[in-house]
Structures are given as C-alpha cells and as structure tokens.
C-alpha cells in the first residue's frame, strides 16, 4: 500500500520541482517581453530618424541584410569551390599532356565575407586571450605568494591596467614591424598586432584576481601545508591553485569580455581583418545598406560576447570545486 506513494515521491524528486518550473517559465516570459519591447521601440524610433544614408534601419531591414550577408557568403563559397575545381582540372590536363610538367597550386584570394570575418575575429581573440592567461596566471601566482614582489609590481600593474587599447595599438604596431621581420612569416603582421593588443589589455583582470586569490588563502590551510612540510611546488599545486581557482575564473571571465571589446576596437582602428574591419568598411562604404549591415554586426558582436561568457561560465562550473557557489 505505502510503496506507491513513496515511489511516486522518489520520481518527483528527480523531476524539476513545480516551483522551479514556474520560476523558469516566468523568467523566459519576462525575457521575451523585454526583447519585444526593445524591438517595438526600435521600429518606432528608427522610422523617425533620417540620416545622410536614408532612414535609420528598423528590425525588418536588419533581418533582410542578415539574409543578404548569408547569401553573399554562400556565393563566395561557391566561387571558391569553382576556382579550385578549375585549377584541379587545368592541372590534371597539364599533367596528362606532359607528366614532367610543374603545376602550381594557387590559393584562392577572395573577398572576406561577413562570416569569414567572424571566424578571423574569434580566432584572434582566443589567441590573444590564451596568451594573456598563460602570462597572467603564473605571474599572478608568483606575485601573490610574495608580499615583496607584490609591493614591487603593484604600482606597475595599477599604472598599465587603465591604458586604453587605442594607446597600445600604435606602440604594438611599431614594435611588431620592428621585431617581426621574417622572409616567410608564419603569422600575418596584422594578426600579431591584434593579438598582442588584446593580450596587453586583457591581461590585467586575470593577473589582479589571481594575485588576490593567491594571497587570500585561509591561514588555516597554510598552516596545514606547513605542518605537512609541503615543498613549494606541492604547496602551489595542492593548496594555492585550487583555493585560488574561483578568483582566477572571475578574472578570466572579465578578461575575455575585455579581450572581445578591445579586439573589435583594434580591428577598426588598425584595419586589421575581422569584424571590426567589416564595420569600418561598411561605415566608409556609405551605401544605403551599410547602416543595416552595421546593425547586424553590432548584434552579432553582442551575441558572440555573450556566448563567450557563457562558455567561460560552463568551464568555471566544471573546474570549480565549490559547486554551491552562485555563478552568474
């Protein structure tokens, strides 16, 4: 008799609770309402504004431009495929006629589309971000563990942290041109300039948060380490790093956000390939579609920034030992 209710309650405990479900529903409804209000206001206000390039695009025009950009990308891909097809046919024909002939395989130099610019930007931002993290985390650990090093480096960190990417960019550009002179460069210079600018600007939150995380280890845990006579490396690996992980991730998330913002600005300013250049080119182009296209880019930049942050959050949840921690 009593077995059935117990089992039912067990099943219930696996399902999301009634309360949880209503809360989730409420939240989604509110988000949808927020977006709807935004789109409505946008539509209303856009038609009121006349610019030198015609009226400001509303949501419909922007959506149309999105399909236009997709179509452009598909067409470009088709051209590229056709190019390689022709090249292959030509080369096989040459080789059939004369098997000694030297055939050349040329790369396709097409115009970058919106989507290839997205890819370039993502690749660049991740390279810069990984580089920044690889510098900032070890440096943060070493500085955070030593009050003396902290006193020595803190003024420098405070000095460089607020420097705008626009100020770094000329210096990085000149330094890269001066120092990176190889006959067959592995990376394009413009790529390196973007990467280093991103690195220089996104380094600081990770560095500072790692320092704080490392220097605020509970004295009790430090005493455990001392009683056990852990050597420096074990101490860092088993005690310092894990207890600083939550702070390090807070820093990494801030850094990634900054990296993405900085990259777009740097690409615009330096005309380096990427989404920033796309926006700049459209701005210079000044056709009637340009404003809509820039709007598409703005939305996509926002979405990618959001996706990157969610990705870091997922990683943080996976790595963080403190599963009860509220992450948002």
């Amino acid at each position: 008799m009593s077995a059935i209710p117990t089992q039912w309650s067990r099943v219930q405990s696996y399902l999301p609770g009634q309360q949880q479900l209503t809360r989730w529903l409420k939240q989604s409804l509110l988000s949808a309402a927020g977006i709807a209000v935004f789109v409505l206001l946008w539509q209303l206000l856009a038609s009121q504004i006349t610019t030198s390039l015609g009226s400001f695009p509303g949501p419909m025009q922007v959506a149309q431009q999105w399909s236009g950009l997709v179509a452009e990308h598909k067409a470009e891909k088709a051209r590229e495929a056709a190019f390689f097809q022709r090249q292959l046919e030509r080369n096989t024909a040459t080789l059939a006629a004369n098997s000694e002939a030297v055939v050349s395989v040329r790369p396709y130099n097409g115009r970058p589309t919106f989507f290839s610019q997205i890819f370039t930007s993502l690749y660049t931002v991740l390279t810069g971000f990984v580089l920044a993290s690889m510098l900032a985390i070890p440096a943060g650990i070493v500085i955070g563990l030593s009050p003396r090093l902290y006193s020595a480096f803190n003024p420098l960190i405070q000095l460089f942290k607020p420097v705008s990417p626009l100020a770094w960019l000329p210096l990085v550009t000149i330094l890269v041109s001066a120092l990176y002179q190889s006959e067959q460069p592995l990376f394009a210079r413009s790529f390196l300039v973007s990467v280093f600018t991103v690195t220089l600007c996104s380094l600081w939150p990770t560095l500072l948060n790692t320092i704080v995380g490392v220097s605020n280890i509970s004295p009790d845990l430090q005493n455990v380490s001392r009683v056990l006579q852990l050597n420096w490396l074990t101490h860092v690996r088993r005690i310092v790093l894990p207890s600083a992980v939550p702070m390090i991730f807070t820093g990494l998330r801030l850094s990634l956000g900054i990296a993405w913002m900085v990259l777009i600005a740097a690409e615009m300013l330096a005309q380096n390939p990427g989404l920033g250049k796309f926006v700049w080119d459209e701005f210079q182009n000044g056709s009637s579609d340009s404003l809509s296209r820039i709007c598409v880019a703005v939305l996509v930049i926002g979405l990618i920034g959001y996706a990157l942050d969610r990705l870091m959050l997922q990683l943080q949840q996976r790595v963080n030992w403190d599963k009860s921690a509220q992450l948002r």
Binding site: S218, N223, V227
Partner: protein
C-alpha cells in the same frame, strides 16, 4: 631521572603591535610524559592557542623553547600533528584524498601504494568515517569533518597530537560522541596529546592532567590538576562520582574565583547595573560567552 618526552621550558612570546610589543606568554614551564593526555584550559584570549602554536612550530618563541625528545623544535613538522578548531580540510578534496595528502607526504618512500591505501582506510575506520570516504567536506556534518581532521592527524603517526578546541563548534551530543571516540583511540594508540578546551567536563573526562592558565597579558600556568580517575572512564558512571565532581569543582573555582575574568560591558549597560552581571552570572555562563566570542 628520566628526561621528559616533551618539555616547554621558560617559554615566552611577545607580539609586535602598533603600541609596542605585547607580551602574550611568559615563563611557561611544563614537562609532558609520553602517552600523557594534557588539557589546556583558561579564559578566552589568555594564550592557549599561542602555546599550542609554539609547540606546533607555527609560531616562534621569543624566550625559552620547546624540546621534543631532547631536541629543540622551532619549525612545524608532521611529528607534531595539529587538529585545527575549524577542521581545516581542503574543500576541493574528498575525505579520502584529504587524509591521502598527509599520508603521501609523511610516508613517501616508506610505504608503497597499497600499504598507503590500507593505512588511510585504517585511519578512516578508526574515526568511523569509512562510509563517507568519497564525500567532499561540504557534504558532511561538522562532527564528521572534525573526525576526518583527527584521522588526518593520526595518519601522520605523530609523536604529539595537538588539538585546538577540536570539539568547540559542535553540539553537545556530537561532542560527547567524539570525546568517547577520542578516549578509545587514545587508549589504543597511547598518543601524547595536548588539547585546548573551554569545557570543564571535557577536560576532566579526558585528561591525565589539566593545565590551567592565568589571564593575559603575560599569561602563564596557574595551576596543574592531576586527574587520577581510572580508565576506561565512563561519563555516566562519573556523573555521580565524588572525585570527579571534586576535580570539576577545582577547575571551576580556578576559572571563576581565582582567575575571574572581568567582562568588558558596553558603557550604557554598565552604568545602569554596575554590580549585576558579576554577581548574578551562574558558574557556567562566562565559559559559554568565551566560547561564543571565539567563534564570532
């Protein structure tokens, strides 16, 4: 005459403060035999933890020293294992891994992998925590965490076990349970133990000697009470035992008559009823106050 196992000799320490050096301890002298169970009792802030940290090597004495087996110690080491008040388990490691960290460190090169595993499991069984070996500290109760802390310390096979109010933050029932466990383990392993407590019953029940400390600054040992109750001791049988109650009385009288601590009251209260608190306070109340102060 046989040399003592552990000797605190003319031990003193002063802390630098903005207002000049603060002498916390002075002339602390104590000889401890192997296998002896010592309790340190005294009002909050008198310097009990400081004594323990000096023995652990976590603090450096400014005068005198600590001698273990005729050798002076002034750095921490696993032969003087510490059970911390708030357990101090690494929250990112499971119960088993917490003990493992200590065992790997202490028995590196002496035990092979399977011997280490057996030893870790043996120590977890000793504190009755085998069932939770894969749980994280956040997933177990305060009493269980303290058990794991004790297992970690015991697994180092220390010559001296140092415990700073190990059961202070636990409810009375859990505390009684752990006290019984500790007595059993101590009977089996014959460890030398120094335990800080603010609980008079706990001190009398567990100890061979109770070391009572005077109030600071410049605190030192006030009295030492030898507890000659036969072991194994049973808390229920002892409740009616005259000798037991006599010992309790002696500790209480030391704490609340000889070393009565003048509680600093907020000004307004003090003006309204200047005599009341001291006169009215029941014997046990200040102990609780002291305990809560510590926890806050």
């Amino acid at each position: 005459m046989q040399k003592p196992h552990l000797e605190l000799s003319q031990l003193g320490i002063s802390f630098p403060t903005p207002k000049g050096p603060f002498v916390a301890l002075q002339n602390v002298n104590l000889d401890i035999a192997k296998g002896e169970f010592i309790s340190l009792i005294g009002h909050s802030g008198c310097g009990k933890s400081t004594v323990l940290n000096l023995v652990a090597g976590l603090l450096q004495a400014s005068a005198g020293g600590v001698i273990l087996n005729q050798k002076e110690v002034n750095a921490p080491g696993p032969e003087r294992a510490v059970v911390f008040q708030n357990h101090s388990l690494l929250p990112w490691l499971s119960v088993y891994q917490n003990v493992e960290l200590a065992v790997k460190q202490v028995f590196r090169g002496q035990k092979n992998k399977s011997e280490m595993r057996d030893w870790i499991e043996h120590n977890l069984a000793l504190v009755q925590m085998s069932h939770a070996r894969d749980k994280r500290p956040a997933e177990i109760s305060g009493g269980m965490k303290q058990r794991v802390g004790i297992a970690r310390a015991l697994a180092m096979q220390p010559q001296v076990l140092l415990m700073d109010e190990p059961f202070g933050a636990l409810d009375a029932l859990t505390r009684a349970h752990l006290q019984d466990s500790l007595m059993e383990i101590q009977a089996r392993l014959n460890n030398t133990v120094i335990m800080i407590t603010h609980d008079v019953d706990e001190a009398v029940l567990l100890s061979d000697r109770i070391v009572m400390m005077t109030n600071g600054p410049a605190a030192t040992i006030g009295e030492i009470l030898q507890i000659e109750l036969p072991r194994p001791r049973n808390r229920i049988a002892l409740a009616d035992c005259a000798t037991y109650n006599h010992y309790r009385h002696q500790v209480l009288s030391f704490l609340y008559e000889k070393q009565r601590k003048v509680e600093v009251l907020p000004k307004a209260d003090a003006a309204k009823s200047p005599v009341k608190p001291a006169a009215k306070a029941p014997a046990k109340a200040p102990v609780k106050l002291a305990a809560e102060e510590k926890r806050a």
